[in-house]
Symmetry: C2
Subunit: 423 residues, 2 copies
Amino acid sequence: MASSPIWASRTKTRGMVLDLIRGARTISRVELVAATGLTAPTISEVVRELMVDGLVVEAGRGASTGGKPPTLVQLNPPARYSVGVQLERNLCVIVIVDLAGRQIARTSFSGVASMPPERGLPLVAGQVNGMLETAAVERHKVLGVGLVSYGPQDRRAGALLTPQPTGEWLGYPVADRLAELLGLPVLLDNDAAAAAIGEYWMGAVDPRSTYGCIYMATGIGGGVVVAGEVYRGSSSNSVEIGHVSVDVNGDECTCGNLGCLENYAGPAALVRQALTTPGLGQRLALDPSGDDFLSEFARLAAAANAGDPAARGLIERSARYLGYAAVTMTTLFDLDTVVLAGPSFAVAGSIYQSVIQEEVDRRTFARQAHPVRVVPSVSGSDAAAIGGAVLVLQSELTLGRGRGPDGGAAPSSAGEAAVGTEV
Amino acid sequence: MASSPIWASRTKTRGMVLDLIRGARTISRVELVAATGLTAPTISEVVRELMVDGLVVEAGRGASTGGKPPTLVQLNPPARYSVGVQLERNLCVIVIVDLAGRQIARTSFSGVASMPPERGLPLVAGQVNGMLETAAVERHKVLGVGLVSYGPQDRRAGALLTPQPTGEWLGYPVADRLAELLGLPVLLDNDAAAAAIGEYWMGAVDPRSTYGCIYMATGIGGGVVVAGEVYRGSSSNSVEIGHVSVDVNGDECTCGNLGCLENYAGPAALVRQALTTPGLGQRLALDPSGDDFLSEFARLAAAANAGDPAARGLIERSARYLGYAAVTMTTLFDLDTVVLAGPSFAVAGSIYQSVIQEEVDRRTFARQAHPVRVVPSVSGSDAAAIGGAVLVLQSELTLGRGRGPDGGAAPSSAGEAAVGTEV
């Protein structure tokens, strides 16, 4: 029965209640009854279980509506932790977050992704172990690790389907290997999808929102979230906005498509454009043979922010292309919000935000139906790593795929049929 | 409580069972228990209710698995009907379908959409009434009317948000007015979304599929279906693929976007291209001042099918652009299938199908993860009208928004807690 819809619906009840508590920050049982439509005894039982598990604690009393003021409950942030690891071509970011998604430790370093996974993953595991120790996080409270990287991926097998960053990573069982090294569950997911769901967990968007995220680090990716869940498609390889064509007369990309956005607007393309702009490459001390596009792009962005006209012209041109692609996203997914996340937006955010907003306002097909806001991510540069950790929290706690803190299957038995406890 | 999640979940149980019976054609109660994870008494009670309502009937006995052969049940197609009305610039199609989605009456005529709605909608209502009478459909068995047309729409208000086909249609309460004229519930929806969901109801796709539909009549629209439900986005104005840019250096479209697909690949664009191709317009007797692009395009397509090189060249060029746009759809929505629906694909389907398949195979970002099939719609030319009728069946019967056949709120009381009847 464990995989039947009804069993899942009972676990989902617990997840739904926990998600409401998370979203509301503090909430009474009476408010939970009203929000869920569940009976008072069921809510009481579910909340009791969440308190026994330590996930939820009491938080004083709310305003009285006539009788005794109701007891409020809230998440207990230090009850559980998760780890987010972002593997990028030029950068690895690791964060530890608590149950509320708040970052309690962070580290970043380069070099890992240019090694074969047999060398890179032990380095990552060593860093994770060191961070958990330094932050004094009890290991049994760690729900798992969200390893996020670019697509395409075989998410179920925990493997990348691309020979990046080096050929050895193609098809290598990265999730299983890291799990083995750490003794913790590891899920592999898309960096942009992770960045997208992070916004929801942090309470930065309306829970009913259909919103998109454009994620820009070295490359450009995307994610869409519908009412708190990542839009997956057939194989979790969705919203690859960096490889959407903006010009079918453009050159063929290494991905096989024509005129891909990434080749017009991505950091690597911009650094190449800067190197061919008279004087600019020299002025910014760009390295024509380098491949650390994140750092070189940050220098270009800094010059643009400081008023260098050539640098600003390149960034604005990139923003215009991103605006066109954002219109494709809003017109196809009918989004109410577009979040800009990742290190490359973080360094030139205000230029990108205003140009993309302008294009979206002007060209989105259904703009008469509702406005579309373009906003920076609340997690900025680290959005993907934090989102990776959030995906673990969400998967384990609120999407009805729960495990107990001991790592075993410990589904809740609370559900619609639970009876007998007073609110 | 009527709108609470739990109430909805009980109605959903009934909808889920009905959808399984529909999808399986014939199925035993034991198989329904296995497929749903519900208890035998619950299944028994839900099936009993569906039989009392006449929606389901017994269908002989299945194969024995040891004991007594189980009784099978199936949909009772003549138990309910719905009406689909497609309003197109050059054409109005009306169909009546039974519970299985099978067409039992059809009519089509032109001219309505070039009238103001005060004149056009009474004509539509007159046709619907005549068809119901001729087909001897008892009115109390008609669940409602699905009125489908182009976007953008205010689906909740039942109004089009575009001054098409004439200025008077913009914001006019088309759904309310038609409901008033017919005395039947009317829902307004997007023609391409309707065409997409039709495939699911007809059993033409795997129920777990994430698939897309490109719908081409006079214009080009799109729909995506995820596990049997239309992808909606913020306001049900999603997947407007005709107004996705294929060339940001292209001309500004009337919609505000640059280089929209429709202006390169749509029937109106092709008829214009044919008129400027030396000799072709004359050879096909195209009318330079006409606006019945559907008929003129059909002549162009017939010439292409018959081997006219100039006509074939234009259709292949259009197919190539549609292929590029299909790649944008598959790369963003991660689709496993792309369905080509509507009258303009119906007349030149094989050319379009092979060229679009070629582009999708070659350029979709995640093509290593899984193949993407390009297929013609099982409902061909009438896919939108049939889909409109199907949206009513789905909305009323399987998505937990049910009404009884008397038009009043008659939610099922069956649910997880139902007990006491033997399977």
